[in-house]
Symmetry: C2
Subunit: 524 residues, 2 copies
C-alpha cells in the first residue's frame, strides 16, 4: 500500500471497474468514445513490432515482446484486448457448457432433493445469453487493466485498422511504423452455402451471442459434428429442447479412443439428442417474414425435413486473411491460412502471422504461444514453433479430455498394450458408481452409469504411459500437467508413486499403483 498511488496520479489510470464502464460505452456507441489510445509519446524508440489484432495471440505476443525489452503496439477494432474469445467465442461456450452440466444434473434429479420439477419444462436460452452479454465486460476490463497497468502494453483500441505496407498501419487516421508487423487477425465461422443460409434464426457461435433476440422454439437444429457443434447442441438440449444434429461425417470423430467416444455418444443420446450422421443440408426454407422454418437434408435414408425456427451452424472456422493478402500479398493455403515458417514469418519478409490466422489447431494455447514465439523471433532470438502432441478436450454435458494415443492407435504400434480403466470391464456394463469425484457424486450414488469413464493406455514393455482419456469433470486442468509428464516418459511406476488428492477425478494414480507391482503388467 499504496501500490496504486503512482498509477492513480496518472490521468490515464483506470480501475477495472472504470474500464468496464468505458468498454460498455464503447460497445454501445464506438464512435462516441473514439480511439482508446495508450501510447507513450515520450518514448522515442521506434516500435519493434505492431500487432494487428489484439486477441489472445496479439495480446500475449505484445506482453512477451514488452517483457524481453522491446517496444510494441497492438491495434484492434474492439475497445478491449483479448479478442473474440471472451467476447463471443470460447468464454460464452464455457458458460453454456457449465449450464449444460448443471441442467443435466437438475433434470436428472428433477423433483427430488432441492431440484425443481423440470419435466416438460424448457429453460430460457435467451436469459443465459443475456447474462453473458451483461457479464462479459468484466473479463474484458481485467484484461485491459492487466495489459496497461501490469504488462505495459501500448495500444490503440476501438478503431478501424488499415494495413498500409509491411511496416506500416493506419489507425483512426494516425500512421504507425515498426520493424515488423505481426498479423493476428483471427478466424471467423464458416457459413453454410445453401439457399436460406441468411434467414433470420440461422446462427453461428458469434451471432448467437451478438444478435439472439427471441427465445428459440422447441426444436433446434445443429449442423456439424465437431467440438463447437456438440458443445452448443448439448446446451440447447439441456435447456429442454429437441435437438437434431446433422453431421456430414461421423459425430465426434476427433475423439479417437473408441471406448471413450462410445461412452460420450451414449450419454449424449441418453439425454435425448437426435444424431443423423451422413447428412448433407440442401436447403433452409423460411416463413413469410424471412425467418427460418425448415431444414432439408439428404441422408442415406433419403431426404429429411425438420421444422424449426433455429439453426446453429458449426462448420469450423476460416482464417480471416483476406485483408492481409490484399494489402501485403502474404501466401495462404487452400483454407486461407497464412503460411508461416517456424519463426512465424510469412512469405513477406518482416511480416509475421500468429493465432487462428495460421490455421489449425485453432486453440488458445497455440494463439498465445505463437504470439510469444513471434515476439522472440522479432527480438532476434532463433525460435522454432510447431504445435505438436498437445492435450485436447471438449464439452458435452461433461468435460472430455484426452492426450497421447487412443487404445486403437497404441495397439497398432505396440505389441503389449496394457489398459487401466474405470469402470472395469464387468458383466453389468457401466452401471457402476465408480469413477466418482467432485461434481459426479450425486450420479455415483443414484445414477451410477452417469458418473464417468476413464482409461489409461500403457506400453507394457517400457511401462510408459501412451495415452489418457477422461469423461467426467475436474480432470481437464490436470491433463495440461499430465501431458508434460507423459512426454517426459512417465511410467506406471512413477504414477503409482504420486500422492493423490482423494477423491481424485483422474483415478490414474491409484489404478497404476494397484498394478505397478507386476513385472509383467496386466490390464485392469
Amino acid at each position: 500500500m499504496d501500490q496504486f498511488a503512482i498509477s492513480r496520479s496518472d490521468p490515464s489510470f483506470l480501475t477495472i471497474e472504470q474500464w468496464a464502464r468505458k468498454i460498455e460505452e464503447a460497445l454501445e456507441a464506438p464512435s462516441l468514445i473514439g480511439p482508446i489510445r495508450n501510447i507513450r509519446d515520450d518514448d522515442r524508440r521506434p516500435f519493434d513490432a505492431i500487432f494487428v489484432g489484439g486477441g489472445a495471440a496479439g495480446r500475449f505476443g505484445s506482453a512477451y515482446l514488452r517483457a524481453v525489452g522491446g517496444r510494441q503496439l497492438v491495434v484492434d477494432r474492439w475497445p478491449f484486448l483479448g479478442g473474440s474469445c471472451p467476447h463471443n467465442a470460447c468464454v460464452p461456450h464455457h458458460l453454456f457448457s457449465d449450464c449444460a452440466a448443471e441442467l443435466m444434473l437438475a433434470r436428472t434429479f428433477s423433483g427430488s432433493l432441492w431440484f425443481p420439477d423440470m419435466k416438460g419444462q424448457t429453460t430460457s436460452i435467451k436469459e443465459v445469453v443475456d447474462l453473458f452479454r451483461r457479464g462479459r465486460t468484466g473479463p474484458h476490463a481485467v484484461m485491459n487493466y492487466q495489459s496497461k497497468e501490469q504488462l505495459d502494453i501500448e495500444f490503440v483500441l476501438n478503431a478501424p485498422v488499415r494495413i498500409v505496407d509491411a511496416s506500416t498501419v493506419e489507425v483512426a487516421g494516425e500512421v504507425f511504423k515498426a520493424r515488423a508487423l505481426v498479423l493476428a487477425l483471427g478466424a471467423e465461422a464458416i457459413r453454410l452455402d445453401v439457399p436460406g443460409h441468411d434467414l433470420a434464426g440461422v446462427h453461428d457461435f458469434a451471432t448467437l451471442v451478438e444478435t439472439l433476440d427471441r427465445e428459440p422454439g422447441d426444436t433446434m437444429v445443429v449442423i456439424g459434428g465437431g467440438k463447437t457443434a456438440i458443445e452448443y447442441g448439448c446446451f440447447f438440449n439441456a435447456c429442454g429442447r429437441r435437438v437434431v444434429m446433422l453431421v456430414r461425417g461421423r459425430l465426434l470423430d476427433l475423439i479417437r479412443d473408441g471406448d471413450t467416444r462410445a461412452y460420450v455418444i451414449d450419454r449424449v443420446r441418453e439425454q435425448g439428442m437426435e444424431i443423423i450422421e451422413g447428412a448433407t443440408v440442401s436447403a433452409i426454407t423460411g416463413d413469410a417474414v424471412g425467418r427460418v422454418a425448415r431444414v432439408v437434408a439428404d441422408t442415406a435414408a433419403g431426404a429429411v425435413q425438420i421444422d424449426t425456427d433455429f439453426v446453429f451452424q458449426a462448420l469450423g472456422e476460416r482464417p480471416r486473411s483476406r485483408a492481409a493478402v490484399e494489402a501485403l500479398g502474404v501466401a495462404v493455403d487452400n483454407n486461407g491460412a497464412v503460411l508461416v515458417d517456424e519463426q512465424l514469418q510469412t512469405s513477406v519478409s518482416g511480416v509475421f502471422a500468429v493465432g487462428d490466422l495460421i490455421g489449425a489447431p485453432m486453440e488458445m494455447f497455440k494463439a498465445r504461444k505463437s504470439g510469444t514465439y513471434a515476439a522472440r523471433a522479432i527480438m532476434g532470438e532463433k525460435v522454432c514453433y510447431r504445435p505438436v502432441d498437445w492435450p485436447d478436450f471438449l464439452h458435452t454435458h461433461y468435460e472430455v479430455s484426452w492426450l497421447g494415443l487412443s487404445e486403437e492407435e497404441a495397439r497398432a504400434c505396440y505389441r503389449n498394450v496394457v489398459i487401466l480403466k474405470m469402470p472395469p470391464d464387468n458383466p453389468n456394463g457401466l452401471n457402476v458408481g465408480l469413477p466418482a469425484a467432485d461434481r459426479t457424486m450425486l450420479y455415483a450414488m443414484a445414477r451410477p452409469h452417469m458418473s464417468g469413464f476413464q482409461k489409461l493406455v500403457l506400453d507394457g514393455d517400457s511401462r510408459r504411459v501412451l495415452g489418457a482419456h477422461h469423461v467426467g469433470y475436474g480432470a481437464k486442468d490436470a491433463f495440461q500437467y499430465l501431458s508434460v509428464l507423459v512426454r517426459r516418459g512417465l511410467t506406471i511406476d512413477e504414477l503409482g508413486e504420486m500422492d493423490e488428492l482423494f477423491l481424485n477425478p483422474t483415478h490414474f494414480i491409484q489404478l497404476s499403483r494397484l498394478r505397478a507391482g507386476h513385472r509383467e503388467l496386466r490390464s485392469l
Copy 2:
C-alpha cells in the same frame, strides 16, 4: 469376449450387481450371511502377510503384495474391502461437499434462470444422508469385484478378527498364520470429553451417516476448525441452516497462505457461517428425552450458549491401536499412533503397521502408499517410506488446493519472491470475473468476486515455482501432477511453454507466460 466365461464358471464368481446385493444383506444382518471367504484352499503356499483391516491401506497393500508374487490374506469385520472411506468417511464427505457447491450456486441464483426460489428454504440433510446410505454399496461392490476378480486378493470379510500373536489371527473360529502381520486398523473420531457428549443429536462424521434418524433443526453447531469441521459445516450451511462453528484455535490454520486463507474465510462468512474462534466447549445440555438442547462454550468474550438440537464434533481422529497394543505390545506415541520405522515395521519384529493407524497425515495417499511399501518390505525389498511435501486440499463450498510454500513461508526463506495471482491486485479488490473456469462461469458473469482466487509463488532468482494455491473448482486433480513437476524443479519458463486447456481452472500457465520474458521477474 467372453472374458467373463471362465470366471462365471467359478461358482464363487459374483458380478458387481451381485456383490452389491450380498453386501446389502450382510450390512442388514451380518450373522445371517456369515463370513465371506475367498481363500484358495488349493494354494499350498503359506501366507507372506495377513493384513488386519481391509481399508485403503490393507487393500492396496494386499494388491501390491499379490502383484509382486506374494500370497496374502486380508481380514475385515465389514462385508466389503475399502474400509471406512467409502462407507462413512471420505466418500460421503465428497457427496456432502458436492451438494454444498451445488446449493451455494442454487442459493446464489435463487429464483433466476432455472433455479428454484430458495429464500428462507431449508434443504433436507437427511435426504442426502439417505441417498448416500442407499448408494454406498455400489462403490463397495466395485471394490470387492476388483479385489477378487482382478487383483486376486484372498480375504475373509464380515467376520470379527482377533490378533493372537505376531504371526497369527483368528477369524470366525478359523486360525491363519503368516510370516508377517500388517496392522491396518485405521482411526476413529476423537469424541468430546464434556458433560452431555453422549446425548442424542451429538454426531461425528461416522454417526451422521450411520445413525441420523431425523432432520436437524434450524441451528447446527460444529465443534472444530480443521478440514472435517469446515467441510460438514459448509454442507449444513448450504442446506439453509444457521451454522455456528466453535473453534478452539484459529479456523483453517492449515491453509498457510494468508491471501488464500482470507479469501476462503471471507466466502464462508459471506454464506452466513458464524465463526467463534478461541472457543472451548464446556458442556452440552439435553432436554427431557435425552436429546441435545444447548451447547455452552467459554470464549474470550465470555460464556456463549447456543440452543440447538444438533452438534457435529470434528476434533480429529485417534489411531485405533488399542487391540494391537494389548495383543502384541506394539509401541505407540502419545496420540496412540503405532510407531513404525521407514520399512513400516513396528517395535515388534515381523509386525508392520500402515494407514491412519500410524498417525498423521491421515490421508488416502498415505494409507494406500504405506500399504504398498509394507508389502514390498515384507517381500524382501529394502524400502523407505516417509510422506513428505505432499499436495493438500479441503472443501468449503469450494475446492481449496495447495502445494509447496505459502507466500509468507517463501518470503521468510527467499530474498526475491515473485507472486503471480488472479484476480490481480487492483483498487476494486476482488470484484473481478477472473479467474473463471468450469463450474464458476455463472459466478464470473454475475457474482464476480465468487469466481475464485489463485496464486503462484516463485523464487525470482532461480525462477522456480515454490508454491501454488487455488480456490475454485477443477484444479484439485491438477495439483497431484503439478506437485511432481514442482518437486522436479519446475520453472516459470517451463510453465509458460506448456499447452493450456482453456478455460483452465489453474491460470498458472498463461500467467507464467505473460511474465516469463522478463530477465528480472516481476509479480503479476
